[in-house]
């Protein structure tokens, strides 16, 4: 049984703007699925459907064999860790208190919360004695992102949703955190959906890759198979990666500019 399943899901924004159109996807227990797509492709909507921040217009989202419509939203959300792009650490709480929020809601005793926070700080590579009592605005961007991951893992949820988790970081820190993530995942074996607009990140993190374009899944396979794809919508994303990857020479960077222009400016809308 897949841990998470999108069955023929359609979803439109209140304005009538269709975001997902008969979308289908299975995520197996313990795998990391990286979903790639351009901004506005509907990636964040997918995550919000998975923890019932949104409900589908038609079709069903099934978590642990149970339709999200039947889940108590509070219970479901505490079973599903969520890491936001801009983290959203609570500014009035220390690192330890931030990590301890869900355990506290679950009524854990204080001692157990403190122990768990220390354990997680160790896991994400921040020394507890040094970081537990710090405030969010005393952390660097990468440290904040790590704390965000620790907070999402606090009650050991089987499923983890990550929305562009390392998007706002500089390339070096991002690479570091990606490696860190793989290390942690090898220990924990969570079911993870990561959404990103960065194909490079998707390759670095995902066991499988899904490519979303205009509300539909156009490809979903192991990285090796994706690289071979001839689908123009997949190729466009792949080309952007090769153009922008860091070790490339000067000449290639100059070619990146027109490519970026195409992406942002008058990119041809995919044919329906």
């Amino acid at each position: 049984m897949p841990a998470l399943e999108f069955r023929d899901v359609s979803f439109a924004r209140p304005g009538g703007n269709r975001v997902l159109d008969h979308f289908a996807l299975n995520v197996e227990s313990g795998e990391v699925l990286a979903l790639v797509g351009r901004s506005g492709a509907g990636k964040t909507t997918l995550l919000k459907l998975a923890n019932r921040l949104l409900l589908p217009d038609s079709g069903a989202v099934v978590v642990d064999g149970c339709d999200t419509r039947e889940w108590d939203p509070i219970r479901l959300r505490r079973r599903v860790g969520y890491v936001l792009q801009d983290v959203g650490l609570f500014p009035h709480m220390t690192v330890e208190q931030n990590i301890g929020v869900v355990p506290r809601l679950e009524g854990w005793p204080a001692g157990r919360i403190a122990a768990r926070a220390a354990e997680l700080l160790d896991l994400i590579g921040l020394a507890p004695e040094q970081f537990a009592s710090r405030w969010p605005d005393e952390l660097s961007g990468g440290q904040r992102q790590r704390v965000g991951v620790a907070r999402a893992l606090a009650v050991d949820p089987p499923v983890l949703l990550m929305d562009e988790p390392f998007g706002a970081l500089d390339p070096v820190t991002r690479a570091e955190l990606q490696a860190e993530f793989r290390r942690i995942q090898n220990q924990l074996h969570k079911t993870v959906i990561i959404v990103t607009h960065d194909m490079g990140e998707a390759f670095a993190l995902g066991d499988r890759l899904g490519v979303i374009d205009d509300g539909a899944l156009v490809a979903c396979d192991r990285s090796a198979a994706i690289v071979e794809s001839h689908d123009p919508r997949v190729r466009r994303l792949l080309d952007a990666v090769t153009l922008l990857s860091p070790p490339e020479a000067e000449s290639q960077r100059s070619r990146a500019a027109p490519a970026a222009e195409v992406r942002e400016g008058g990119a041809p809308r995919p044919i329906k």
Binding site: Y82, G88, F90, V101, V102
Partner: protein, 544 residues
């Protein structure tokens, strides 16, 4: 000046402490209630943005009503209004709501969207989100609103003395009505200091809330603030509670009334041993009347002519008996002459007292025997003018009036037995429309030539001290204004000894006595209670 104020504080230390305690108590209670209402309302408004604008709009409008007007609006409102600290607390709550609601909304709206989203995504219920995320983050902003509400409250509470709420405004009003800067400052200085220290103290708490670096000091700040509030409430409650008593004596807001109120209060205390609560300096006639109706006060001194015309809207004419004007709803202002009648008719002096007594009796109030003097309106001019122009009567003055300016108190301009009828009776016309001014200030305005004619009280002490001359009412426009205690019949039934005590004052205060006492207060700035004690001591209890 400074020395005089300090001397005043020294001689009134106990009273000052009591007023300060009342002041703090009013502000503390109203601010706390405003928080209890305002914060939930602000949260509600931020949950429903569509209702936010109307809510803020309404509170905004409330805020624009001048506080004195607000006290006026509340006077007839049952439960919330009336006179005394309760109405003051209600008004202060209304004023406190706006800053608190606003800062609550702003504090919650200022929270980073991703922070709120994180809370929801982590499975917080709306209540948990509010308790753990929204309120703590909005707290410094809300605290700023509470500070504004409290500081505004300290200021507005001084005005509440006009409706007998007590507090430091009591000195300010007393000083205004006695034209005594020392007494005004004696109230204004501590009020300003109180506002500054409330501002400073709450600002400190706010800063502690903002610097969440040291959780311990923040917690200390919160518990310190809580302890301070509790201590203030407790001590204020104790001090203010001591002034609570069985019989409440009221008075209007001018010197003579405060002296009379003090005489009644002192007499009841001396003769019956009952506790007396003084609510002196209560605004004008109608406020006192309303307070007596609602039971906020038990007794005050009224004037027969005033009761007849201003309270019961009865005509002054003696024909009342014949025309049966005792009927409720009888036509209001009495014409000076009969329609089509010939000669001007004298006011039937003997008739006024029984008529007023009957009118009071119908509404559960008892008119007690007159104190012995008639405080009629006195049309006053400067002594120099009177001598130079040979003025003796109001009729004489009417000749000069076209070159003159007049200044009248609010009441005199509005009352049925006031300016309009006087002008009609004597054909008075002035160079310009009469200036509206505070009754007490008008004496000095006349003496300093800002105006040339005023309507004062016949017994005013300032008449003598400022060399003013009273013109004779030769057409007998004014009804008699015998000073008479009015009391709630219920209270008199319960405490017959109070009735006996007040009745022993009947006929004991002559017009000369009254003028002398008024002069002692207004001219020599003596303390009202000292004047009253001396007066009562010189005249031991009369024979029964």
């Amino acid at each position: 000046m400074v020395m005089a104020v300090i001397a005043f504080w020294k001689s009134h230390a106990a009273e000052l402490a009591g007023l300060m305690a009342q002041h703090v108590l009013i502000v503390a209670i109203s601010t706390m209630v405003a928080v209890a209402i305002g914060v939930p309302l602000g949260v509600f408004a931020s949950r429903r943005p569509r209702l936010s604008a109307p809510i803020v709009g309404i509170v905004n409008i409330v805020q624009t009503v001048p506080s004195l007007a607000m006290f006026g609006f509340l006077l007839p409102v049952p439960l919330l209004g009336g006179v005394g600290p309760r109405a003051a607390v209600v008004v202060l709550i209304l004023y406190g709501l706006l800053p608190i609601i606003r800062t609550t909304i702003a504090g919650i709206a200022g929270i980073d969207a991703s922070v709120r989203e994180a809370g929801v995504a982590m499975g917080m219920t709306p209540n948990e989100l509010l308790r753990l995320v929204e309120l703590p983050i909005a707290l410094p902003s809300i605290a700023a609103g509470i500070r504004v509400a409290a500081v505004v409250g300290v200021g507005s509470a001084t005005i509440a003395a006009a409706i007998g709420a007590g507090g430091l405004g009591e000195y300010i009003y007393r000083g205004l009505s006695m034209v005594d800067t020392t007494v005004i400052l004696a109230g204004a200085i501590p009020a300003a200091l109180l506002a500054l220290s409330v501002d400073g103290g709450l600002l400190w708490v706010e800063r502690q809330l903002l610097t969440r670096r040291r959780t311990r000091s923040r917690r200390a700040a919160v518990s310190l603030a809580a302890a301070a509030v509790a201590a203030v409430l407790l001590s204020s409650g104790l001090v203010a509670g001591r002034s609570g008593g069985a019989i409440v004596v009221g008075s209007k807001n001018f010197t003579e009334q405060m002296i009379l109120g003090e005489i009644i209060a002192e007499t009841i205390e001396r003769d019956t041993g009952l506790t007396v609560k003084r609510r002196l300096n209560l605004g004008g006639t109608l406020i006192c009347d309303r307070a007596l109706m609602t039971g906020d006060i038990d007794v005050y001194v009224e004037y027969t002519g005033t009761a007849l015309t201003a309270i019961f809207h009865q005509p002054i004419t003696p024909d009342a008996r014949a025309s049966d004007s005792l009927e409720p709803g009888a036509p209001g202002v009495g014409p000076r002459r009969l329609e089509g009648g010939g000669a001007p008719r004298a006011v039937d002096v003997d008739n006024v007292f029984p008529r007023v007594r009957d009118l009071y009796a119908r509404s559960g109030r008892t008119l007690l025997p007159p104190l012995g003097f008639d405080n009629t309106f006195a049309i006053l001019v400067r002594g120099s003018d009177a001598r130079q122009l040979g003025l003796r009567t109001i009729e004489d003055a009417a000749r000069e009036a076209p070159h003159w300016r007049a200044g009248f108190g609010y009441e005199f301009l509005e009352r049925p037995d006031g300016y309009a009828g006087l002008a009609r009776t004597y054909g008075l016309r002035f160079a310009s429309a009469p200036r509206v001014m505070d009754l007490t200030l008008s004496y000095r305005a006349l003496a300093s030539r800002q105006v040339d004619l005023i309507a004062g009280d016949a017994t005013a002490g300032l008449i003598k001290s400022l060399d003013l001359v009273r013109l004779e009412d030769n057409r007998q426009y004014f009804p008699p204004y015998d000073a008479v205690p009015v009391a709630r019949a219920q209270m008199l039934l319960r405490y017959p000894q109070v009735r006996a005590a007040i009745e022993r004052l009947a006929g004991r205060i002559s017009a000369d006595d009254m003028q002398a006492m008024n002069y002692a207060a207004d001219g020599r700035h003596e303390d009202v209670s000292a004047i009253v004690r001396r007066f009562l001591a010189e005249r031991p209890r009369g024979a029964r």
